[in-house]
Structure formats: structure tokens, C-alpha cells
Amino acid sequence: MTGNTIQLDKNGNLRHFLTTEGLSQSLLQNILDHAESFACVGERAVKKVPLLRGKTIANLFFEPSTRTRTTFELAAKRLSADILNLNISTSATSKGETLSDTLHTLEAMHCDMFVVRHANSGAAHYIATQVAPHISVINAGDGRHAHPTQAMLDMFTIRRHKQDFTKLRVAIVGDILHSRVARSEIHALNTLGVLETRIIAPHTLIPEGVENLGVHVYHNMDEGLEGVDVVMMLRLQRERMRGALLPSEQEYFQRYGLTSKRLEKAKPDAIVMHPGPINRGVEIDSSVADGKRSVILQQVSYGIAVRMAVMAMTMGRSSEDMSESK
């Protein structure tokens, strides 16, 4: 499911945004540069540009989400697009409609873009293979596979604070096993050329073969945080856990929870990130989540700018490129 063949059109422009894996450094930087321009739009009196006026975007959420869905919705609205929010889990599919029938129905309503969140890995990719040539698909999280816009908003947050990726040591802490965010972050960090990416987690929450992605694995939090510039916390995904992966949340917090004391191991100017929603007292202490070095709320604001950039780039291709067949 790496396929740049499906993500890019024949001129190398972004057509769908399904995964950060395999995209070039210049393309990732280009997304961040565009996001920089869109971030300024959010600070104006009128927080809207007419770029996607007349386009229709469908938010297809097969899995519940608040923050991702609303930031995609705001991003679309700030680009002047019309947006449909479809909570599929409670609608057509429960009446027995197949996914491809749902898609064709939406195509018949002249939608131009699908933003897809699905519990199955590869769902957005599958949808991208099914849609008409003018339609773009953005992956808003598929199973354990990828969550590319979250990864890019994290990269944007890092760049705003730290500028040069090549000097950075980054630690990703927590439930790597179930995390599509971690996978997308690791690919993006590798491509942007960070000095080192570490993952810190108990044995049971690390997927097999993760070392092949070029990361260093730590099971001890204090050792893993030593000298890092960026700490990216992950949410403990209790709803995805089956069986006894963890002894108890209390014990998890004792070993892997980010406290002010633990944070002292990182560089004095290290920033703390979290994709949300936060489990306070499980993976992060409130004093850190609300503390000076936390950039968690900035991540939310930047998420809108990054999603605007990706929407504008995938839909803003020349008419010739948009009509080309796959």
C-alpha cells in the first residue's frame, strides 16, 4: 500500500493523500510551505479564501471522530468549499448498502473529494482506486495503517518550533502497535531527514519489525527521553486492545506516563506533542499537558492549515491533469 502511482498524477502532483510513505521530501516540504500560507488566513478578519468555491467535499467517517472531522470541516469551509458530513456507521451501510454503492451515490451528487476515516487498514486506498478521475481522496485515518494529515500537522508544528529537521532527535512514546499516527510520523520524519527517531513503549505495544523503519527502540522511558528535542506522546488506544497487552493503566502511567520529572531528561527546550484526545493520568500528566512546553493546542490550530493545504493541492491541479485517467 505504498503506491505513489496512485497518490500522484503523471506530472508528480498530489492527487490523493493516503500515506506519507514514499512521498518525496520536496513534496512534504511543499505541503508545509502551503500550510504556512494558509495558517495566515486563519489569523485574519475573514478567515476564508475563495479557492475551492463551488467544490463539494464529503467527509466519510466510518469511525467516530470529533477533532479530525471538525478540522477537516473547518478547512473545507475556509477554502469556501461545501461540505457534507456523513456518519456512515449509522447510515446507509447499516441498511445493507455496499461501500461501492455508497461511493457511486455520492459521485452522482457531484462530490469532488472524499475525506475518509475507516477502521480497516487500506480503506482509503481502496476507495481511491474506485473513484472517477476528477475525485480526490484524503485518508483521515485507516485502521492501524496511516493518518497522513495528522503526521503532517505534527511536522508543521515541529518546523514552526525547531526549523531544521536534520538536527532533531524525536521520541514517539506509547501505543505504537495500534497507532496509525506513529506509522505516518515515522515515514514523514525519515523523509524529512531527522537525526534520530526513537520509539519508547513496552514490548507488547511495539509492532514486529519496527526497527526496519530506521527507528531506535527503547523500553525504558528515562533512557529514551535523554536529550530529545521533541516528545510525541500517543494515546493509549484502549478501544483497540484485545487481551492482556497491559497490566493496568496505573502501572502503565508509572512506567511510561510523561511527568514533569521525566521530561527533565529531554533537552531544556524540548516540545511536547499529543494528537489527542488526551488520557490524563494514563499517558501524560496534566502538569505536562497544560505546561509551558506543551504545544498540543497549537497542533489543533495547525491541523486546519495543513488540511487546507492538502485539500487545495489535490484539488488544485490543472484541468488537464484532473481529467487524465488513472
Partner: protein
């Protein structure tokens, strides 16, 4: 072919004309905004010569162009910068070449998304033939008549030079 166009001289004439225009209309402390990239280069020079105290604004009209659906996302990505509130201000909008008028339409739309200015004065280095919208400049450095296929292009920022090119 363009040896006879002295950009420096034109800028001095334009600065004088802008001063005269704003005096006539009693526009106090005008705010200058240049359209990226060429217009911002020109505006920088004019801003210096006119000794305006408020910082220069720069517009990147990429998000307001009317050809987005046919040409796609513009590679120029540096954001607009309007450091001063435009509400109730007299604005001097500067561009290098006034051609179809579409850029100016886009720029005015963008300015209005920042606020409601008291007035907008348009100053351009070159006005060329080929207008498609009812947009006129108040201050013009030089008017050039060109055939279709001929283009005038400003290179810069240092030195600023005008060149007429024939394409297609």
C-alpha cells in the same frame, strides 16, 4: 529593445505622482501594499522614497486567482503579509504590470477579507494593452502598446529592469 525604459526614473516620477495624488485627495498617512512578486519590489522602492512610516504590506494573491480551476495551485507559496489593520485606511496598491486587470481584482478581493479600507489608489509601473476588466490605474509609470504574443516582464529585485518578450 527595452533600453529606453529607465525603471529608476519611472519610480521617481511615480513617487511624485503618488504624493500629488494623495495630497489632492487629502489621504493622510496612506498604507502601501505591493502585489508579489514584481509589485512588491516596486512598492519597496516607492515606500522608501515616500518615507511612509507604516510597514509595507505584501499580497500573494494565489488564493484569489480566477484561473485556479484551470491552472491549479500556484507554486509561489510565500504568504501575504499585511502587518497593519486596513480598516478605514487609504491604501496605495502597487503592481508592476497592469494587463488584463484580473490580478488587481483578486488583490482587491483579498484586501477586503482583511477589512474595509477607506480607499484604494492603484499605482502601476507599466500599463499595457489587453484590458479585460474595467480597472484603471490612478498612477502609471509608462503606457505600452503591445501586440498579442508580446509580453512585458519585470526582473528584479536588484537591479529592476523591464524587458519586452515575444512568445508564441
Amino acid at each position: 529593445m527595452s533600453d529606453d525604459i529607465n525603471v529608476k526614473e519611472l519610480l521617481t516620477e511615480m513617487a511624485d505622482a503618488i504624493q500629488a495624488h494623495t495630497n489632492t485627495h487629502t489621504y493622510e498617512t496612506p498604507l502601501m501594499i505591493g502585489i508579489k512578486r514584481g509589485g512588491a519590489w516596486i512598492a519597496k522602492q516607492l515606500h522608501k522614497q515616500l518615507e511612509y512610516k507604516d510597514p509595507l504590506g505584501e499580497l500573494n494573491i494565489a488564493f484569489y486567482r480566477d484561473d485556479f480551476s484551470t491552472l491549479g495551485m500556484h507554486p509561489e507559496v510565500s504568504p501575504s503579509q499585511l502587518p497593519i489593520d486596513v480598516n478605514d485606511r487609504h491604501i496605495v496598491l502597487v503592481d508592476d504590470v497592469l494587463y488584463t486587470g484580473r490580478t488587481i481584482r483578486a488583490a482587491m478581493n483579498e484586501i477586503f477579507d482583511y477589512g474595509r479600507p477607506a480607499s484604494i489608489t492603484l499605482a502601476v509601473l507599466v500599463e499595457r494593452s489587453g484590458k479585460e476588466l474595467p480597472i484603471q490605474a490612478d498612477i502609471i509609470g509608462k503606457t505600452i502598446t503591445l501586440d498579442t504574443g508580446e509580453h512585458v516582464k519585470l526582473s528584479g529585485p536588484e537591479p529592476l529592469a523591464l524587458e519586452i518578450k515575444i512568445t508564441g
